[in-house]
């Protein structure tokens, strides 16, 4: 199965580069959706079926769609050069490479504890018990966060509409 991992990893990297590189913002958004999908497959490799399903549901079904809607709403003229690259491309590239190198340095030089247990069959049940018992406070905060983001989006959109 190792080859499958590398295949998915290659898809992630290529599509993520596409997000940055495409000149047309819509193409970038589609590449982003592809990245999300490939990441969902990575979760499947980790036997985290529920997280994978939610990755598809939220990130492709909602976030990517929201981004496309955002482009539709904001777009005024042509799409051809809607995602131009600035002068800082080279600097950004260097920063990204250095960040990656530092992270790799940390990840590769550590004796990570590895569990010998098999992943649980029913990951949803395990997650449910965690979210609704021990981690219920972040769960409720997430609800408030959603409420505040709706209020905020409506407020800011109203300001734009009235302008």
């Amino acid at each position: 199965m190792v080859w499958a991992f590398w295949l998915v990893a290659a898809i992630i990297i290529v599509s993520a580069l596409g997000v940055v590189g495409f000149a047309n913002l819509i193409h970038s958004a589609l590449a982003l959706a592809a990245t999300f999908l490939a990441v969902a497959i990575l979760y499947l490799f980790l036997a985290a079926e529920f997280v994978a399903a939610m990755q598809v549901l939220i990130y492709i079904g909602a976030v990517a769609v929201l981004i496309v809607f955002g482009i539709m709403v904001i777009n005024r003229s042509g799409m051809q050069l809607s995602n131009p690259s600035g002068k800082t491309v080279l600097g950004a590239f260097v920063v990204a490479i250095v960040t990656m190198a530092v992270l790799l340095l940390g990840i590769l030089n550590h004796n990570w504890p590895v569990t010998q247990q098999n992943p649980p069959d029913d990951t949803i049940a395990v997650m449910a018990d965690l979210v609704f018992n021990r981690f219920l406070i972040p769960f409720e905060i997430a609800g408030l966060l959603l409420l505040v983001s709706v209020i905020g989006a409506i407020l800011l959109a109203r300001e734009v509409r009235q302008r």
Partner: protein
């Protein structure tokens, strides 16, 4: 799992206030003006703060270690609630002309306060992260509320740069989780410290510390992670700028204290030098770049960066004394910074300008405002007799105690230089002639109260710091036992 709601009461009250204001807003046909809501919010925040004062000595670890109520958390909750109460009063002035979104404004303010309270009580990395995001999203909306491109730009800048800092923080958290297999701070500390030398042998822990530190350095706007703060402080409504400077920054320092003193203290020798560099950069750049500013909000933004450079010195000491000094400075810094921003709010509400030149001859147009600004900024500069002096003295004493006398000396030199630019401001207010056609600046009663509180606290703790010193000593002693 014990069903322990009592540990959550202050947060629930603040959230309840926000939800109540929202429901009232939805039920009303006409937008509710800022004046009554601001007073209601002020009274509610004050009452909840008194409630937390009453429960101060309580120490509880609930919800399986994910929720900590200890004197440190309660101290910062009082600080956040005080900040929110003062900001509510100042907001009445800034919202007076444009009350269309007054209700939502106070809803968001309550939510931001609740978020900060969750952040300091968070006992695990998940709650901490969700709390920080909750705070950030709320602040983004509050920042972008004003009309005009400056506010939108500020909101967008904060959103994007905060996302990057969150990514760094989250990556650091994920490394910690991978090392320990736990999200709860207490458990991580035991597991990592159990194999302290082994954990340090790999490079994952240093990378995690660097990432977490840079995340927190962003929240507390330490140089060079301060880039966002100037434009955001400039573009946000002025009371919200004050809230950024006193609330959000204090929240950053609070989690910094919690995470570094509980989790990373065995490796203090490694991260203290990094903090020294950050501290020197922050207080020198903050204080020196403030001098040429022509906008009062940008000026105070740099001054507040400078103050953060002093507060972080307490972490350099990494002792109980250092924590005490940080707590003391954070508290008196609330009043001084708020007072300065509140004067800017009052002047802006009347003249529509935040230029320093708009403050010209303020002593003739409103002696009270001018005096408040003078006392608050001199307190920030650390002039003897005001609270800021005691705060700086406390901080320097803590680092000298740990053998960093040269750092304290550098801090004192820059601090004396900073008096220069605060005196420049005083000259504008007291010596310069007021601009032609300028009128007396009217100060609303709510603003009067807020300013009086900050002036009183600044002078009182400068003359008689005993009670506050007692308090921070007890809090720090309970935190590091």
């Amino acid at each position: 799992m014990a069903l322990d709601i009592s540990a959550l009461v202050p947060e629930l009250l603040v959230i309840g206030l926000g939800l109540l204001l929202l429901i009232i807003h939805i039920l009303q046909r006409q937008p509710v003006p800022a004046n009554p809501i601001g007073w209601v919010a002020f009274l509610a925040f004050t009452a909840i703060a008194l409630f937390v004062v009453w429960r101060m000595p309580v120490a509880e670890v609930t919800w399986g270690g994910t929720w900590l109520v200890d004197p440190l958390a309660n101290f910062f909750k009082i600080l956040f609630l005080l900040a929110a109460a003062l900001v509510s009063l100042a907001s009445i002035t800034s919202l007076a002309g444009q009350s269309r979104f007054a209700s939502e404004y106070f809803v968001l303010l309550s939510m931001a306060t609740a978020a900060m309270m969750c952040v300091i009580s968070a006992g695990d990395l998940l709650t901490l992260y969700v709390g920080l995001e909750f705070l950030a999203i709320t602040l983004v909306v509050l920042t972008a509320l004003d009309r005009g491109t400056a506010a939108s730009e500020a909101g967008l800048k904060y959103l994007i740069l905060n996302a990057i800092s969150s990514a760094a923080l989250l990556y650091g958290f994920s490394l910690l989780y991978g090392m320990s297999g736990s999200l709860v701070l207490g458990e991580i500390a035991t597991i990592i410290a159990g194999g302290a030398t082994q954990a340090w042998a790999g490079l994952a822990l240093p990378v995690a510390i660097v990432l977490v530190l840079s995340g927190f350095a962003f929240k507390t706007s330490l140089v060079p992670f301060h880039m966002w703060s100037i434009d955001v402080y400039h573009g946000a409504p002025t009371p919200i700028t004050a809230f950024f400077a006193i609330g959000s920054k204090a929240a950053g320092f609070a989690v910094l204290i919690r995470v570094f003193m509980k989790l990373f203290i065995p490796w203090a020798a490694a991260w203290v030098p990094a903090l020294i560099v950050l501290s020197i950069l922050t207080f020198t750049l903050g204080n020196l770049v403030a001098i040429p500013q022509t906008d009062i909000k940008r000026f105070l933004a740099y001054a507040s960066i400078g103050s953060a450079g002093y507060i972080i010195m307490g972490m350099i000491a990494a002792t109980r004394g250092g924590i005490e000094a940080m707590l003391f400075y954070a508290m008196i810094y609330v009043f001084a910074t708020f007072g300065a921003f509140a004067v800017a709010t009052a002047v802006q509400a009347q003249t529509g300008s935040t230029a320093i030149s708009a403050l010209a001859g303020l002593s003739k147009r409103s002696p009270f405002l001018a005096l408040t600004m003078l006392l608050c900024t001199l307190s920030l500069a650390g002039v003897p007799g005001l609270a800021g002096f005691i705060g700086k003295f406390y901080i320097f004493w803590a680092v000298i105690d740990q053998g960093y006398a040269w750092l304290a000396l550098l801090g004192i030199i820059v601090s004396i230089l900073s008096v220069y630019y605060f005196l420049l401001l005083a000259k504008v207010m007291y010596v310069n002639d007021p601009p032609a056609e300028s009128a007396i600046i009217r100060v609303m009663p709510s603003m009067r109260l807020a300013l009086a509180v900050s002036v009183f606290a600044t002078v009182f703790f400068g003359v008689y710091p005993g009670p506050l010193i007692n308090l921070v000593t007890q809090v720090a002693a309970r935190f590091i036992s």
